[in-house]
Amino acid sequence: MTGTGVGPELIRLDGAAASYGHHRVLTDVSFHVHEDQFTGIVGPSGAGKTTLLRLVLGTLKPVAGEVFRRPDLRVAYVPQLETVNWNFPVTVMECVLMSRTRGRRLPWASRQEKADVHAVLDRLGIGGLAERHIRQLSGGQQQRMFLARALLRQPQLLLMDEPTSGVDVSTRHDILHLLADLHEDGVAIVLTTHDLNGMAAHLPHLVCVNHRIVADGTPSEVITPAVLEQTFGARMEVLEHLGMRVVVDEAPSNYLAGGA
């Protein structure tokens, strides 16, 4: 899988900083997204991963630096499942159709719109669930539903916040394969994750974030004990397995020995 980003530029952040009130979350972030890019933003909880996505999305204005976005760029965003109100009364069909809001005047879906929704649901393997309430789906199905809503926009850039959070191993594999297929189809993808082995190690390009960009490169360049300690604030060991980096916590005995 290629995806380190050498094609035309879609987004550029130059020395961007972000705050919530007086609380500075990101400082001096310079980051580019290109047409053929597939990037994972890696970092611990509270490091500013979602904030970085918001800067890219444009829903958060930088308090310093600049964010450039290619004019007429079609961006789609898949939020964290934890932020969704699962009791909201919408069916899968109603939820996916939200992508077709702008410029539409009639409340009900046209025959073509329904066909488009069924096609994208079939493609993602959740055909037949269109009339279900969103809460009646499994975690993996819910992730696919939001992916379907995003894909209905035919995006050039897809942003996803923790797409494998709270899903099982099998679903994580499925999602990774889906994203790889989308990337092959020409969609640039930027996602956040704190799952180093299950997600980040499989991506072609990583950006390590902890309130600033700690490292930027391929997994073999950034998944190192030094970068991980800077990013996560914890000592980790990195092993090689079948050509892939595998991160393990430092042996508990080392902590015990150090702490005794």
Binding site: P89, V90, M98, T101, H133, G166
Partner: protein, 291 residues
């Protein structure tokens, strides 16, 4: 049949029936958005804050009390929207602070400069049987405006209610949609306040929407059910009020509450689960589902 036709011989009852049904439907329709946005208290709050407008009108131009109250209510609703967006204050707290402050200002102005008259008493308790043709025309106009707004902005309203951040990314002008919703809500409260009173306005914004949520998982159906339940509660409440000799506003609320209990009994835990946490974005729901 005789029971249904007998009260219709009176003009006051005919007008009351139209107004009760229309008010119930209007508040049931707009109430869906209010309940799903976690702003159930706004009906209660805004109907109180509007007194500030009545008071201001007493000072400057008493004949324009309805206009002043409307502007006051719209200003309060927009202030709530701005405070919720610009600060860390939740909708419930912002509604509590702004509307009660507005109400207190109204009471203070009344105490100092005003005098309570028929318009004030009507605003407090409503006067569904003594309603004028002008008030009916105003109510019909607001109902048409609200229906047109919901019809034409259905998708934008749904998206920005469910997921405002993604809606904004997808090109929906969320701030504009929310401001328009608050203006329509204020007009709906104003048009119904002097007719059916504060208590009924607050109740009918919430009860039909909650019942509808217990009956369906579809947003489109929830809108339809809530409007129909509000309409039916108004009609049935008027008839029961006529025969029981109880004030109409009270009876309409009691009809809504009775329907709520019946639907709750029929749907059992399913209905409760649907209506619980209507506005929650909670992790406990995920945990519950994963369990």
């Amino acid at each position: 049949m005789e029971t249904l036709l007998e009260p219709l011989a009176y003009a006051f009852f005919q007008k009351g029936l139209i107004v009760a049904g229309l008010s119930g439907a209007l508040l049931g329709l707009i109430g869906v958005y209010i309940v799903l946005r976690g702003m159930s208290y706004i009906g209660h709050g805004l109907s109180h804050s509007i007194f500030g407008g009545f008071a201001a009108a007493q000072l400057f131009a008493a004949q324009f009390y309805a206009l002043a109250a409307g502007l006051w209510g719209i200003a309060s609703a927009l202030a709530i929207t701005v405070v919720v967006k610009k600060s860390r204050v939740g909708a419930d707290a912002a509604i509590g602070v702004i509307t009660i402050a507005s109400f207190a200002l109204g009471v203070a102005l009344f105490a100092k400069f005003g005098s309570s008259g028929p318009s004030f008493d009507n605003a407090l308790f409503g006067s569904i049987l003594g309603i004028s043709v002008g008030q009916i025309v105003g109510l019909v106009a607001v109902a048409i405006l609200t229906s047109a707004f919901v019809f034409l902005r259905y998708r934008a309203l749904l998206f920005s209610t469910f997921d405002p951040e993604v809606a904004a990314v997808s090109g929906v002008r969320v701030n504009r949609v929310e401001a328009a919703l608050m203006i329509v809500l204020s007009l709906a409260i104003l048009a119904t306040l002097t007719v059916i009173g504060v208590t009924l306005v607050a109740a009918m914004l919430v009860i039909p929407a909650v019942i509808a949520r217990m009956l369906t998982d579809s947003f489109g159906r929830m809108l339809a059910y809530s409007t129909a339940i509000g309409f039916a509660s108004g009609l049935v409440g008027m008839y029961l009020s006529y025969y029981a000799g109880v004030p109409s506003g009270t009876m309409i609320v009691l009809v809504g509450a009775t329907v709520f209990v019946i639907v709750l009994a029929i749907t059992g835990g399913r209905g409760l689960r649907r209506s619980a946490g209507l506005d929650s974005h909670s992790e406990d729901l995920l945990a519950e589902r994963a369990a």
